[in-house]
Amino acid sequence: MSASPSEPVRATRGGVRVWFMRSESARGYALLSPTLVVVVLGLIFPIVILTTLSFWKQDYVDIIRTFTLENYSAFFEKKIYYLILYRSIRISAFVTLVTIVLAYPLAYFIAFHVQKNKIMWIILVTIPFWTSYLLRVFAWKVILGYNGVINSGLISLGLISEPLEFLLYNPTAVVITLAHAWAAVAILPIYVSLEKIDRSLIEAARDLGESAFMTFVRVTLPLSLPGVIAASLLVFIPTVGEYVTPTLVGGTRGIMIGNIIQSMFGKALNWPLGAALSIISMLTVTLAVCVLLGGTRWFRKKVG
């Protein structure tokens, strides 16, 4: 056999440049590299530290640097951690659900029924974000509180004689406050995905005999799912670790895993246990996200 006529070019100085120009992925990584550096330093690094920490042990103010699974077994032995994590997931799931249910109609309205000044509507939607997060949580405290807006309003109307106590310091208050705080974050991705839908697809569905409602179920909703999923993740993931809102409006029954982790790194002074709880809640969130994505895939199949 004779030698192949076109040997690949050796990686000389020119060769590297040519290779760089030819390779789509090399140029892609080059574009990505600043972000990549930030992600590695800001995400991977802390996770490595956290993971290492979670296998060590706290001894009063010292940390004993020998490998141990004690922190993880503590999570499974003491029911309280497990229950609070479960409650956190449930509250976040509720918050996500309420947020999406509130955000979707608004996004739908802006995408399909506002003809002019869509930008103005979008800006209006973000107005609550212009004030501090803390301020908004306090506002809800004022509204829901024992002597708050709702209670004093109802009393002065003579509808109730005693203030309602179930309004504040419970998981419902946390859900209400968080859903309001995250609404604008959910509206934007849903709006974008609705706005992208070709109007002739909706007309085609109507033309093929579907009612307005079934057109929504079979065409509009599936095509806006990417936005709904994005919104769900944007709301669900950060709210699981939330600790400001539960502290302020949640009471003892509204405590979430974030509060526990915070106290482990603070008053309780047990960093390794805090790290282990962080890792466990991170894995749980990942699992929940997988379930969510699997569920939407199933929905798509079923509708199709």
Binding site: S200, L201, E203, R206, E210, M214
Partner: protein, 366 residues
């Protein structure tokens, strides 16, 4: 004409101050291939969307199959539409796209699968059912859109420039397929296009529209050979117009005078105007004969000078300048060897002649 399947009664549609359709009033027969033809913005799509139920007319009514559907929403009309961009559902595969409208058809799963396979056979895409919507070429998407509408067995199929996005070769192929398909399924087609050649090739009848008005409804042959207005004559194909004055009319032949053509004789059943009044004589480029020897000064003969020419393969186009006329006369000749070998080039002296029955008489406008 057979039974009318669609009747459009004095339909007008205004968008604010824009009148998109102005007093359209005509019928479309069952089984007909009917085209709406006109320049961009003349209201074709609007009229089609009124038939489909996406727009409600500002005035007038629509009857389909004997039923008043003017206010009926699209999902309750016995018509289906093929959209200009095909509107294939991107989240569904080919089979699910075709089956989309069959949810309440009462067919069992197996029967439906069989119908889908039949439709795929009909559009000559057998075995494509599992393909995703993104894995189709333009022509294939167009066929899937057709199948999706045809599986519903509508009384009328509405098509909005369905071939507009295809290249010339594919478009011509799809034209033939579309016409065959229409004859095969026997459904009335209402076809929107701004391509006059396409309309002439496909249609049984054509409605020519301009600025919201329906100017003329005729068969392709009549539209081409005997248009009734200058707009239609100009819009369909190429046409040369000459101003003339009516002379006398005897034995079915009109004698007339034109500053540009000299004495003219035209065969016609009635004179276009009273003697001494003006009219417009219209002659298609291919009706002329080129003569290279002095043809003398008789009726339907005029002397001119050769202008630029264009070779188009099967035929050639010439521009011939006449004395007293600014724009050249456009002449088309088939490329038979004999007719071409005496052409010497620009400025050569030539004579144009045309038969008595070649010209169209149009009223003078304004």
């Amino acid at each position: 004409m057979t039974k009318a399947i669609i009747s459009i009664n004095h339909v007008t549609k205004d968008f604010g101050s824009v009148r998109a359709v102005n007093d359209a009033n005509f019928e479309i027969a069952e089984g007909e291939f009917f085209s709406l033809l006109g320049p961009s913005g003349c209201g074709k799509t609007t009229l089609l969307r009124i038939l489909a139920g996406f727009e409600v007319p500002s005035a007038g009514s629509i009857y389909i199959d004997g039923r008043d559907v003017t206010l009926l929403p699209p999902n309750h009309r016995p018509v289906n539409m093929v959209f200009q961009n095909y509107a294939i559902f991107p989240h569904l595969n080919v089979a699910s796209n075709i089956a989309f409208g069959m949810r309440r058809s009462g067919l069992s799963k197996a029967e439906l699968a069989e119908r889908i396979e039949e439709m795929l056979e009909l559009i000559r895409l057998p075995g494509y059912g599992e393909r995703g919507a993104h894995e189709l070429s333009g022509g294939q998407r167009q066929r899937v859109a057709l199948a999706r509408a045809l599986i519903k067995q509508p009384k009328v199929l509405l098509l909005d420039e369905p071939l507009g996005a295809l290249d010339k070769k594919l478009r011509e192929q799809m034209q033939i397929e579309l016409r065959q398909l229409q004859q095969q399924v026997g459904i009335t087609f209402v076809f929107v296009t701004h391509d006059q050649e396409e309309a002439l090739t496909l249609s049984d009848r054509i409605a020519v529209m301009s600025q919201g008005d329906v100017l003329e409804i005729s068969t392709p042959g009549e539209l081409y050979e005997a248009p009734r207005s200058r707009f239609v004559a100009d819009f369909i194909g190429t046409m040369n117009f000459f101003d003339c004055i009516v002379g006398d009319y005897r034995g079915g032949v009109l004698s007339a005078d034109s500053a540009e053509l000299g004495p003219v004789r035209v065969a016609c059943t009635t004179p276009p105007a009273a003697p001494g009044e003006g009219f417009v004589l219209a002659i298609r480029p291919e009706k002329f004969q080129l003569v290279f020897d002095d043809a003398g000064a008789s009726a339907n003969t005029v002397r001119g000078r050769m202008g630029p020419s264009a070779y188009l393969g099967d035929r050639s186009h010439f521009y011939v300048y006449l004395e007293g006329r600014n724009e050249p006369v456009s002449v088309a000749l088939p490329n038979l060897a004999r007719s071409l070998d005496r052409i010497r080039g620009v400025d050569q002296e030539v004579w144009l002649t045309w038969p008595e029955d070649a010209a169209v008489l149009l009223p003078r406008e304004e």
